[in-house]
């Protein structure tokens, strides 16, 4: 049982390049999330999904896109990388909403992205 797996662990992009951050979970969780973590800012929700085929914007979605074709996978796409997207990105999953009393979030180990 691997939990939530993110790849790559590190990446350096040039301004204007694109990339996809991969996320997969093997816990059959319905809910999946992408957060970004910036120093002193905590975690901000980028996008989330309540099940295969359903995605929605979080607090900071600009510059990103997602898809959820299967229960297991929830990739995050950066189309035109900008320095403001330099951050650590975390994927998470939960069986029910992470806001609910019985369903904590399970996080991957993160992807550290630098855009120069």
């Amino acid at each position: 049982n691997a939990g939530v797996t993110q790849t790559p662990k590190f990446r350096i992009l040039k301004i204007g390049q694109s990339m996809t951050l991969q996320c997969t979970q093997d816990m059959n969780h319905n809910y999946m999330y992408w957060y970004r973590q910036d120093p002193g800012m905590g975690l901000k929700l980028i996008y989330y999904s309540v099940g295969a085929g359903i995605t929605d914007k979080g607090e900071v979605p600009n510059g990103y896109n997602v898809s959820r074709s299967t229960t297991e996978d929830f990739p995050l796409r950066l189309e035109l990388a900008a320095p403001s997207q330099t951050s650590v990105y975390f994927c998470a999953s939960s069986y029910n909403p992470g806001t609910s009393y019985n369903s904590p979030l399970h996080f991957g180990n993160g992807t550290r992205l630098t855009v120069t």
Binding site: Y31, G40, L43, F90, A92, T99, Y101, L105, H106, F107
Partner: protein
């Protein structure tokens, strides 16, 4: 809208001493409150939660947290700190009437350093 504040960016404590990591929240109605911990180069891990009932809740690794409704606080505590407790701690809040997946809000984090 709900929010959560962690007033201390950094907390230092000597090994064996009691530790407290502070959290205050703002939410309409009764809150759901959570603590997560992040070890270096890892994703967040769930520690404990308050939903209802006893104001003192116990969680993983000997941690506990005290819910104080009048002070709108949910401080994390441990009677005797270990060097291995050194990590980044996040408080999070949601409201029972707003349990959508995008309604979990994290604080900015407190870095705990336990000094040998």
């Amino acid at each position: 809208a709900q929010s959560v504040a962690q007033p201390e960016d950094q907390v230092n404590v000597a090994e064996g001493n009691p530790l407290t990591v502070k959290c205050t929240y703002s939410v309409s109605g009764n809150p759901y409150l959570f603590w997560y911990v992040q070890y270096p180069n890892r994703g967040l891990q769930f520690l404990l939660k308050y939903i209802t009932g006893d104001n003192l809740v116990k969680g993983s690794y000997g941690f506990e947290a005290e819910f104080n409704k009048s002070q709108t606080s949910f401080h994390l505590k441990k009677p005797s700190a270990l060097v291995s407790d050194s990590a980044l701690y996040f408080c999070a809040v949601s409201a029972p009437h707003q349990t959508g997946a995008n309604n979990l809000f994290f604080g900015t984090g407190t870095r705990l350093t336990v000094i040998p």
